[in-house]
């Protein structure tokens, strides 16, 4: 009976305050979408890190005809220098940091280049001797890149040592920046949502002050009086959270999974299922936001 009564109260409250309830739904929807987007971006970064860091290597580029560094003043790398580098790689001091290494000749480099830029006209104007040969080193711990750099950069015949991870770091820092922006917007919207929920509850409490006054007088418990208001806010916020989750899932499914992932097959993208993992977090967050802000408001505007 009491449950039915509380549910009836919620229903009438939602109907009476429809426009405010809709605005609460929209604001929580937008704010939680941004929160979720930031979460998905972070997931994407972790995913890419895991995927690329396995593959990405430190490249020791050797001198070619086109090299301009002072180390290459003597001209292209000689076989002797190459052997020297190879033996340095297998020396115990370096070997402990190296997982595996292989030599990429100029011909190999051209092949990889052609694969990578298959659709670009630049392929036709590039020849093998324009590309440097290199040693590709896969490290046990990629963080120890500096050791390779110090050991090889001044060895004769070495043009430069490049940590390819750093190229990715740039991409990741852009993505991190984007997620920081998303979190910032989300925080702002969350503040809006909290204030709006507070205002809605306040209005709702005001428009039903007759009922609550009578409830108080006849000895209704605090829970029976306050629960309809709290649940009103929570229901609106949950609807907003569900909308946000759906939107994120749609984006992950149709934009990322069916579009980006098809175009860039060699990159790991998050899947739509992972977007579903964000949903419970968003819903919980919505409940928490609405619950806390309405309880605080009621303490002030609904004396029991």
């Amino acid at each position: 009976m009491r449950l039915a009564f509380v549910l009836g109260e919620i229903g009438s409250g939602l109907r009476r305050n429809l426009s405010m309830v809709v605005s609460v739904i929209l604001v929580t929807f937008v704010s939680l979408t941004f929160v979720g987007a930031a979460g998905l971006l972070q997931m994407q970064i972790t995913q890419m890190k895991g995927y690329w860091y396995d593959k990405v290597q430190v490249a020791v580029f050797l001198c070619s005809d086109n090299s301009s560094s002072p180390n290459c003043a003597a001209g292209p790398v000689t076989d002797e220098q190459k052997k020297n580098i190879e033996s340095l790689l297998s020396s115990p001091a370096i070997k402990q940091y190296v997982n595996s290494s292989n030599y990429e000749s100029q011909a190999d480099a051209l092949k990889h280049f052609k694969e990578q830029f298959a659709n670009s006209p630049i392929v036709d104007s590039v020849s093998a001797d324009q590309l440097p040969s290199s040693f590709r080193i896969n490290m046990v711990n990629p963080e120890k890149y500096q050791i390779i750099n110090e050991s090889f950069s001044s060895v004769p015949g070495v043009d430069s040592v490049v940590d390819q991870r750093q190229l990715l770091e740039k991409l990741f820092s852009v993505m991190n920046g984007a997620s920081v922006v998303a979190v910032g917007i989300a925080a702002l919207m969350v503040v809006c949502a909290v204030l709006l929920i507070a205002t809605t509850i306040r209005l709702s409490a005001f428009s039903r002050r007759r009922e609550t006054g009578i409830m108080r007088l006849v000895g209704a418990s605090k829970a029976v009086i306050q629960l309809p208001f709290v649940l009103e806010g929570v229901i609106a916020a949950v609807i907003g959270a569900v909308l946000a989750s759906t939107t994120l899932w749609l984006v992950a499914k149709f934009f990322v999974e069916d579009n980006l992932a098809q175009q860039y097959r060699d990159t790991a993208f998050i899947s739509a299922n992972q977007a579903l993992l964000v949903a419970p977090v968003l819903i919980l967050l919505g409940i928490l936001l609405a619950g806390v802000s309405s309880l605080l408001t009621l303490r002030k505007y609904l004396k029991v």
Binding site: M1, F5, I214, L217, V218, G219, A220, S221, V304
Partner: protein, 257 residues
């Protein structure tokens, strides 16, 4: 049923206390009028009984319990033992007569069956049988007040507080309301009614507690609205009530020095 023990209530520390060291006792089943001009402390008295306010000093006992010791989560339970009626009825305009009375039972979790059984009974007690499905605006003022009384007593409280229940009604209608309150009182409910309707007080001949500026100036059984004992001087005025307790009069004398 209700006992005030040296109760003082101060709203504004600079001003005069709303109630000044009041002591009195209203027994179970009693009918008492609380009379006095506006601002004499009648409403404050009722608010203290309901624990809407805290006494600044002294203790208020309701049904043997010091209300100051009732924790906030048990206040609702305490209020279930007290029915309240106001001058302005306070009905829910979009609910029928039946729904208005049933509301008081719904919010404390009574079952549908009990509600359907009890509400018509109570409506009969207040003389509203056959009007269950009317809306409040279709009723006269007196009928609306009867609905409010029905709502106040539907949970069978031991105490009924009425704050100027006839303040908005004409004399004939008021008399009808008083008959209802008398009937409720005869069923064993303690009734405390704040009023300044002298006709009603005179016709009922019940206990009259007169407040003036926050002190009890008269407490008589079977009394009239105005004192039957002539007032000699303002200094003696506070001692003329035969039912003023010893403590109360001593304190009032002290307060007037």
């Amino acid at each position: 049923m209700i006992r005030f023990d040296n109760v003082t209530k101060i709203y504004d520390s600079k001003g005069r206390p709303a109630l000044d060291s009041i002591s009195l006792e209203i027994d179970r089943g009693e009918f008492a009028f609380l009379v006095g001009a506006s601002g004499s402390g009648k409403s404050t008295f009722l608010r203290l009984v309901l624990k809407e306010d805290r006494a600044t000093r002294g203790a208020v006992y309701v049904a043997g319990q010091n209300v100051a010791n009732i924790s906030s989560w048990r206040v609702p339970k305490m209020r279930r033992g007290i029915g309240v009626v106001f001058q302005d009825f306070r009905l829910l305009p979009q609910k029928t007569v039946f729904a208005n009375v049933a509301f008081a039972m719904q919010v404390i979790g009574k079952s549908r069956g009990i509600i359907r059984e009890t509400v018509p009974e109570v409506l009969k007690t207040v003389g509203l049988e056959g009007k269950e499905n009317r809306m409040p605006h279709e009723l006269s003022g007196g009928e609306q007040q009867r609905v409010a009384i029905a709502r106040a007593v539907v949970n069978r409280p031991g105490i009924l507080l009425a704050d100027e229940p006839t303040g908005n009604l004409d004399p004939t209608t008021s008399l009808g309301i008083m008959k209802v309150l008398d009937k409720i009182n005869q069923n064993g409910t303690t009734v405390v009614m704040a009023t300044h309707d002298d006709d009603i007080v005179n016709s009922m001949r019940k206990r009259v507690i007169e407040l003036r500026n926050g002190v009890i100036v008269r407490d008589e059984a079977k009394a009239l609205y105005t004192s039957m004992i002539p007032v000699v001087s303002s200094a003696q005025k506070h001692d003329d009530g035969p039912r003023v307790s010893e403590v109360g009069s001593a304190n009032e004398a002290e307060g007037n020095k």
